[in-house]
Amino acid sequence: MESSAHAFPANVRHALADPQLQRAMGRLKGHFIDKRAHARARLPEFDALRDQAKAIKDHTLAYLDLYLERFETEVRRSGGHVHWCRDAAEARGVVLGLCREAGARTVTKGKTMIGEEIGLNPFLEANGIRPVETDLGEYIIQLAGEPPSHIIAPAVHKNKEQISDLFVEHHHGGDRSRRLDGIPELVTEARETLRARFLEADVGITGANLLIAETGQTVIVTNEGNGDLTQTLPRMHIVLASLEKVVPTMEDATTILRILARSATGQEFSTYTTWSAGPRRPGDLDGPEAFHVVLLDNGRSALLGSEFQDILRCIRCGACLNHCPIYGSVGGHAYGWVYTGPMGAVLSPALIGLDEAHHLPNASTFCGRCEDVCPMRIPLPRMLRHWREREFASGKAPAAARWGLGVWAWFATRPWAYRLATGLVARVLGLARRGRFAALPLAGGWTRGRDFPSPEGRTFHAQWASRRGR
């Protein structure tokens, strides 16, 4: 996917001025946040499972080469193939080659973030193959020609009127007399339209939530069943997975699955968890005749042993997005690339480069909620800080930020001047107005989205000194 992460500040202004998007973002709380809290409260072992899940991934990452080799051996033993790909272009090439081998005209796709990462759909289209997204959210944004705005709820930014319009345009040639407006009717229309695509597809492409070294299985988790129809009906099943998805055993995967859905949607377990190994076996009455796993690096191997290694534990549950005040205000598209929210702000600079994505690590108040809710206990704020340090060191920080930090540093290293200045500002602002400021000179960008409380009385330093530290 083409990145617009460099335009983050402009993207944000656009998002904050979009009332429809703001309403959609407001729905996050009831759906994701409350449900996760409920699911967590129902399982007393939840936090202990998080500790174990973290340990499983840390262990696997420490032996990643060996677990991947074992995974490959097992996939082969079950009659499948593994294709190692260094970057997006290599992965696209492999998928196209496989589609040609299968004589594919139509390809159904389950939800795959790796597919988005490598920009697969436009590439297949340019090569005469029709990719059809089958996850309802992905299907909607494919019709709209947009990227996903959330890693587990790709169309979370759309309302049902917009979806009705898209369906009229694409299913009924714009005939508005056939426009549906109930959610059940829209889901049924999508079901019927996509059923035909499932049955005619030559190749099915899915992602993978987990890879099992022990058995060579790939695991997907869905609620709709689209991933299952995608992989069961066509002649060939292609799995797109990145290196870090592997875990040692089915038991290890099970521990992670116990916290995945609960963290993501607050479900006790997703509707369908499907473990797939190789092509159909002798005597099987259905299933694909060929099974291929495309194993993508695309910059991940460089994170091993770095201060960003912990992000490789991410299971893409989306909890950090749902709980992030920045994501909740600006939505996913502002981030400008596939991965959004706190996990995206950490991962994107590693995958597309700091030049392109240097704004993203600044999209954080460091409130720490992302780390609190992350099932894999990934220290997201700490890694955002590492990126900010690199941004600063490389001179990419905006001039205003560098100048501001320079001024602050001058005062911070001269306590007498700091006290004098803060005392003065507190007194002036406190005299100017009680309550809140809706606008302040030099801080228009800050006050546009919120009010600045006016200082009450003296500074902390002054009070501390007069109370002698009590």
Binding site: P248, E251, W275
Partner: protein
């Protein structure tokens, strides 16, 4: 071996400072496949286990029924279909467990085999049930086409009560006991198909079945 493979593995080995003795540790961990923490909820004994399974499956929109013996299954299926205003017709998995049931005592019209999407009802047996989340586990194979789990609007599942486990890990142990190779597909199914992709409103029957009915049967194996 391909160049990308060599290069990627080389990078990983260098970053991880791999030594020769590490492979043994990895093999040992896989061979042991030790269970991690199993929640207390997954360790409840019978009969609470059945109650938990039914409650959890019910929460996500599945329906359940307990039957005292195999002979009751055909009539229960016929009754359920009639209650849903569905025709007394179904595609059934060619599973000896199902074939052994007295179907001729009902008017059900059964066809055995996979489905291409034109059967309104699919009937299968389950390899296991898991009480902790009300989950069914099915295995693909000559006696269980995967299409029956997904293409029909209504999925009726026969779950022998003895196959009901507390936690997922018990099912993996039984799966390993079947032999060295896992089946092409292991399906874990928790409730009927659903989506929340339009305004985060939960809607049943996205692509898979709209209804999931589970018969928990005593004295069957």
């Amino acid at each position: 071996m391909s160049e990308p493979r060599t290069e990627i593995l080389g990078k990983l080995r260098r970053a991880l400072a791999r030594t020769d003795s590490d492979a043994a540790a990895v093999d040992a961990r896989i061979a042991a496949h030790t269970a991690n923490l199993v929640p207390a909820r997954g360790q409840v004994p019978e009969p609470e286990r059945v109650a938990m399974f039914r409650a959890m499956a019910g929460e996500v929109g599945g329906t359940t029924e307990e039957l005292a013996g195999p002979a009751e299954v055909p009539a229960a299926v016929a009754r359920y279909l009639a209650g849903q205003n569905l025709p007394a017709r179904a595609a059934m998995a060619p599973d000896p467990l199902l074939q052994g049931l007295p179907w001729t005592t009902t008017v059900l019209e059964l066809r055995q085999g996979r489905t291409h999407g034109d059967d309104l009802v699919g009937i299968t047996a389950a390899f296991a049930g898991v009480a902790e989340t009300g989950t069914l586990v099915t295995l693909s194979g000559p006696t269980h086409p995967t299409t029956l789990n997904f293409l029909s609007e209504t999925h009726v599942v026969v779950l022998p009560r003895r196959r009901l486990a507390g936690a997922y890990e018990e099912v993996w142990a039984r799966l390993r006991a079947l032999g060295a190779d896992v089946p092409r597909t292991v399906n874990m199914i928790t409730g009927p198909s659903r989506t929340a992709d339009i305004e985060q409103t939960i809607q049943r029957g996205a692509h898979g079945p709209r209804r999931l009915h589970i018969l928990i049967v005593d004295g069957l194996d």
